[in-house]
């Protein structure tokens, strides 16, 4: 149940980003989860409900998509898509990789409850430490 720690991190990032909502309620949160973080979506959903309670993100829908895995072979440099149970490099046949994607959890967007028929307002708050 490490989903509780993850939900905590999600809430922090959401509240940070929701500064742009002008204090309005958060309706929807889009999250890209890497398979290597071993997240059980139902457990994350439950943890999210618990941690978000009493904040402007309470009750917000948590939309989770899985990030495809990507790795680079440390031996031959080849880039490929491993599976969670198979990291064999198609180039050299070894399983010794740096994980490029699939070991991360990224907050992609926050949707605020605002009537705005003229399209989306985009604030790119790219993390300085990303």
């Amino acid at each position: 149940m490490h989903e509780m720690s993850i939900a905590d991190g999600v809430l922090r990032a959401v509240l940070d980003a929701a500064g742009g909502c002008g204090g309005r309620r958060v309706e929807r949160v889009e999250l890209a989860v890497g398979e290597m973080r071993l997240v059980v979506p139902e457990a994350l959903e439950m943890a999210w409900q618990v941690v978000s309670e009493g904040t402007i993100a309470a009750g917000a829908e948590l939309a989770v998509v899985e990030t495809p895995m990507e790795a680079r072979c440390r031996r031959c440099g080849r880039q490929f898509a491993p599976r969670i149970d198979n990291y064999l490099c198609p180039g050299c046949g070894l399983a010794d990789v740096d994980i490029l994607a699939g070991d991360d959890i990224i907050l992609k967007s926050v949707v605020c409850d605002v009537e705005q028929p003229s399209g989306e307002s985009k604030i790119n708050a790219n993390a300085s430490d990303a």
Partner: protein, 216 residues
């Protein structure tokens, strides 16, 4: 209104892990995070092997447990400094708990710091604590199918210790199955076979440990 963000949720956790690593680098200590299921022999490994390190090598252990200080008590005679971290219901150690653990230690008097993580094959694998290396234990009684069942734990290992091998014959353990699974998941980490009962493999573990020190 949609606000596009693209921010890692783990930044805070990973940043704190980096701070921990920085503190340990500053005093030149080597930190090994030890992960496994409960009962695979993490405490026994430390208890037996730390006193066998060359004279003058200074060790410390941060022991994670849900409850009790039993493991810390067992380790008191094996390591110069031992700090217990009780997580209550937490299923893994977090970088902030390690930060407080570091506060409680005299870092200038440590060559090796071992983190005995919570016994669990899933959650601890997902968190960097600031360690330099990860050692993963798999004991024979757990079965020879566990590498395939918990691939991420083994994929992130720097060394894999097969423990309680004195029980292998009795339990008809198939080592080849373990090696075959590892051949797809992690071919970089050395695999050591150990028995704390007979002492087999302890030398290889100590050699591996010594090779992890900077400048070695």
């Amino acid at each position: 209104m949609k606000i596009n963000v693209i921010k890692s949720v783990l930044d805070a956790s990973d940043a704190l892990a980096s701070v921990n690593r920085g503190r340990m680098d500053a005093v030149g200590l080597t930190c090994i995070n030890i992960l496994s299921a409960p009962g695979s022999g993490k405490t026994t490994l430390l208890e037996k092997s730390l006193p066998m390190l060359p004279a003058g090598v200074r060790t410390a252990v941060l022991v994670g447990d849900l409850q009790t200080t039993r493991d810390a008590e067992r380790l008191e005679h094996s390591a110069a400094q031992v700090v217990q971290i009780n997580t209550g219901n937490g299923c893994h150690l977090s970088p902030s708990q390690i930060e407080r653990g570091l506060d409680a230690l005299d870092l200038t008097a440590i060559d090796y710091l071992f983190i005995e993580n919570i016994g669990n094959m899933v959650c601890p694998a997902a968190f960097d604590l600031g360690e330099h290396r990860r050692a993963v234990l798999l004991s024979v009684p757990e079965g020879d199918d566990k590498v395939a069942k918990y691939p991420t734990l083994f994929q992130k290992a720097d060394v894999i210790l097969l423990t309680k091998i004195d029980l292998a014959e009795l339990l008809e353990y198939n080592f080849d199955r373990v090696y075959d699974d590892l051949s797809r998941i992690n071919t970089a980490a050395p695999v050591l076979r150990l028995s704390m009962r007979t002492g087999e493999g302890l030398d290889a573990w100590l050699d591996w440990l010594i090779a992890q020190r900077p400048g070695k």
